[in-house]
Symmetry: C2
Subunit: 210 residues, 2 copies
DNA sequence: CTAGACTGATAACGACTGTTGTCAACACTG
DNA sequence: CAGTGTTGACAACAGTCGTTATCAGTCTAG
């Protein structure tokens, strides 16, 4: 039985109501993911947290996987947007641009640890979630390729090697940021950013010189 | 009701029988993990694959988490042992030692993709599995600290920075190896090892110079 | 041979899963 | 007002989950 929903209700339009419910589901998903991990995410638990009934879950998502993918996508997009914006206003210097991007990305995850958790947890499910995570990491790598000069001016034959480097850098940053945010490595934000910048730049100039 | 088991059965001693059953459970766990991911691992599915009854699962493991941790531990230990052994027989040269360690570690995971999968999947569960993964990555980082000259001769104040570098290198290597093994990045073994070696060395000498 | 360790199959327990359906109460439109 | 979009609470479905227990049958020890 499909849901129709064309009339305003309590002064809120139908589309807006749908959007609010979807947002509540995503938000609750972020919560449940942070509290109990992947296994804590079920249709019923999500709906209970969002104060909705299962019907409205299926209104916004075909599947539990669809919700998880949507969550990870939104976080990944936010990180990417902030990083790109930071690069845009940074000086035309490799070190400065890397630092700006890393600091911006870290800021998003440090500001809401649930989001960091969501990205880390995404490596799990053998379902669409894992594939999506791969795509996101690849997308970040491509982002680095496009935005960072040493990787940008490579011949087609070197692009595969460049992609490998970018993957390495993204994976290393993820691991290090995750360790700091989880508390297993104590490091101030400024030191972390500085360290990551140095590591990235070292790898990039090495890539450039080879 | 505890299981006693003191007598030989079909010519096999009690201890050995327990060991064989435990091994069968671990092996099946590796299979199920590779086929259906974390959610495919249940007491019943594991026992079915190992041709055992649930009783014998609880004979060897307190918990499903205990099984998962045991699996990940054994794989991680194998990788570490091979890497250490490779370093031991490698020339006394940073590049050569890194290459030997990386190649040895990659060899284990490439030889049995189920093991690579197990390590990658380990980043998921909010349970003890995730903690264990953190510890393993940290242990690898410490391993790099102890075995690689540029990191070894650091003052106490620099050790935290060195640990961060090691974490970065391990995380980056994991990501890159995972991408290659999953087929999302085509790269020959020799090129992969060479690339990883270059990246590691570049980061290490940068660490050394700062 | 008998007593008892050992095995494997099966059942039971309550709790949870995804998904769909029903139904009374509410809010809006005409 | 009546009619209907809309909501939330609840039930139902067959299935799986972890965990423990039961029981007939196979093997070994004495």
């Amino acid at each position: 039985m499909a849901i129709v929903q064309v009339r305003p209700y309590r002064g809120v339009a139908a589309d807006e109501r749908r959007g609010l419910r979807r947002q509540a589901l995503l938000e609750t998903g972020l919560d449940r993911l942070a509290e109990d991990g992947l296994s804590g995410v079920s249709v019923r638990s999500i709906c209970a947290g969002a104060r909705l009934t299962p019907r409205y879950f299926y209104e916004s998502f075909d599947d539990l996987d669809a919700l998880l993918v949507a969550i990870v996508d939104s976080v990944a997009a936010e990180v990417a947007q902030r990083a790109i914006a930071a690069i845009a206003v940074a000086p035309d210097d490799l070190s400065a641009q890397v630092r700006a991007a890393v600091d911006a990305g870290y800021g998003v995850l440090a500001g809401d640890r649930r989001k960091a958790n969501a990205l880390l947890v995404a490596g799990a499910g053998h379902g669409p979630l894992r594939d999506r995570r791969q795509e996101i990491i690849m997308a970040y790598a491509e982002l680095a390729l496009v935005n960072l000069p040493p990787l940008r001016r490579l011949t087609a034959t070197d692009r595969r090697r460049a992609r490998a480097t970018a993957l390495f850098l993204v994976g290393g940053a993820a691991e290090l940021i995750g360790a700091v945010l989880s508390g297993s490595l104590r490091l101030s934000r400024s030191r972390l950013v500085e360290q990551l910048t140095n590591l990235w730049v070292a790898a990039l100039v090495q890539q450039d010189g080879t």
